[in-house]
């Protein structure tokens, strides 16, 4: 296989963290569906536009056009963005809160793994990114719908990340 762009242990740890977050994230989606009957993210697209729920790009991580440093930056910025989004969902409900808390911690820890790898490679930005403006939710429904949208965007983000990382293992 092509020579590894990153140390194998970093790749293996990152893949494990992606799987850990994916498992937790689908748990969150299942709970939001079971508890609030919000089971179809595609039915919340309009609301997503009005709330301004962002999607994080991973264009530099596709196997066809992989650019290592930019891929790491996109991975970190995406995780940072989704970490902030999940934080904005705090207080969503007692049933979902434990899963949401764990998910936030797992996303933050994975962002640290990426950041440390950038530092090791000497390509880390000079300062940690600052959180862009996050959506504000004016009702319990908006917060729950925002949770479904954020989680489904995160799921596809992780899918792309898993493919990119898996390509090199």
């Amino acid at each position: 296989p092509p020579s590894l762009p990153w140390p194998r242990s970093f790749l293996l740890k990152s893949l494990e963290q992606v799987r850990k977050i994916q498992t937790r994230n689908s748990e969150l989606l299942e709970q939001l569906c079971a508890t609030y009957k919000l089971c179809h993210p595609e039915e919340l697209v309009l609301l997503g536009h009005s709330l301004g729920i962002p999607k994080a790009p991973l264009s530099h991580c596709s196997s066809q056009a992989l650019q290592l440093t930019k891929c790491l930056h996109q991975l970190h910025s995406g995780l940072f963005l989704y970490g902030g989004l999940l934080q904005a969902l705090a207080g969503i409900s007692p049933e979902v809160a434990p899963t949401l808390d764990m998910l936030q911690l797992d996303v933050a820890n994975f962002a640290t793994t990426i950041w440390q790898q950038m530092e090791t490679l000497g390509v880390a930005p000079t300062a940690q990114p600052t959180q862009s403006t996050l959506p504000t939710f004016t009702s319990a429904f908006q917060r729950r719908a925002g949770g479904v949208l954020a989680a489904s965007h995160l799921q596809s983000f992780l899918e792309t990340a898993h493919c990119a990382l898996n390509h090199w293992v």
Binding site: Y36, K37, E43, L46, L47, S50, S139, F141, Q142
Partner: protein, 308 residues
């Protein structure tokens, strides 16, 4: 600003009652067709149109629906519009239904001399399906419970428990107090009948420990068909004057208990005679506060003895 907004007549209603909701789509909702047909969905049921849809002065559209009988204790009502070849959920409201609390019943209390607390329990009544708070309320009433003196701190039971313990420091022993249980939820409040008691009149006594005395033959002539017993009162209740009763029964099918009443709560040597020699006898003792009012202790564990 979000496109749609649901308003509900009453978000928490009595199970089986009707509820009316309306969903208003604001004109500023650019992405929607001019006059979209507003649809409703209860839980993950089918999308259904409202009872009526009308045009409001400010250009917004309003659909109204009445659910004749709400039989979900908790349900989500969504307002949708067709969009592309799917639907878009614009808002969602939470519906809750249940019952006001019935009056809690069978309130009873026991004074626990080990924990020094008054432990009360009650029947909460039928399920209300709504968060319902139970509180054990009480006040001191030195006379015959007709007049309220200083009230005692509310006793809030552990989650979902129908029992509560009032700590010793809140109790004025040897005086009457009034207790009752209050149940409260969004749909109403109810109270149990009131209890009037002096905690010391409802002490939960434990029975004495019944022991066989091995009387050496030399000391006392061996009378056939007799047993020698001794018992001591339960330590924490030792200060309470008690009266006890003993019951015994040969271990033969179909025999009844024989009762010996008005016994003291402490006995070093008690001779029980008139017993048949053959079978093994089971003996038990229990005591009650006396002459002051009190509750019988449970029977002591059975003591198996063979008479001389």
């Amino acid at each position: 600003e979000s496109c749609g907004h649901i308003t509900i007549s009453v978000p928490i209603i009595r199970l089986g009652d009707p509820v009316t909701a309306s969903c208003t789509i604001s004109p500023t909702c650019s992405k929607l067709a001019q006059e979209p047909q507003i649809l409703w969905r209860l839980q993950d049921g089918p999308n259904q149109p409202g009872d009526s849809q009308r045009h409001l002065g400010d250009g917004s559209q309003e659909s109204t629906i009445t659910l004749p009988h709400v039989n979900h204790t908790k349900a989500f009502l969504s307002c949708l519009v067709p969009w592309a070849n799917s639907f878009q959920v614009l808002d969602q409201a939470e519906l809750q239904a249940g019952y006001p609390p019935a009056s809690p019943s069978n309130l009873s209390c026991l004074m626990n001399l080990t924990t020094n607390s008054l432990v009360c329990q009650w029947e909460p009544g039928p399920e209300t399906y709504l968060p319902t708070n139970f509180t054990l309320k009480s006040f001191r009433s030195r006379t015959d419970c007709r007049y309220q003196e200083d009230s005692i701190l509310d006793c809030v039971p552990e989650d979902r428990q129908s029992t509560c313990s009032i700590a010793r420091k809140h109790l004025l022993l040897y005086q009457n107090m009034v207790l009752w249980v209050q149940a409260e939820n969004v749909l109403g409040t109810s109270e149990s009948p009131k209890l009037c008691l002096d905690p010391m009149d409802v002490v939960k006594l434990e029975p004495p420990v019944l022991q066989a005395l091995d009387i050496s033959p030399g000391l006392v002539p061996r009378q056939p068909g007799c047993l020698w017993l001794s018992w001591k009162p339960w330590k924490p209740g030792e200060f309470i004057e008690q009266e006890c009763e003993l019951r015994y029964q040969p271990q033969l099918r179909g025999t009844n208990w024989t009762l010996v009443s008005h016994l003291p709560s402490s006995e070093d040597q008690f001779k029980l005679c008139g017993l048949h020699q053959a079978p093994v006898y089971t003996l038990q003792i229990r005591c009650i506060r006396s002459p002051l009012p009190g509750l019988w202790s449970s029977w002591s564990p059975g003591l198996q003895l063979r008479p001389t």
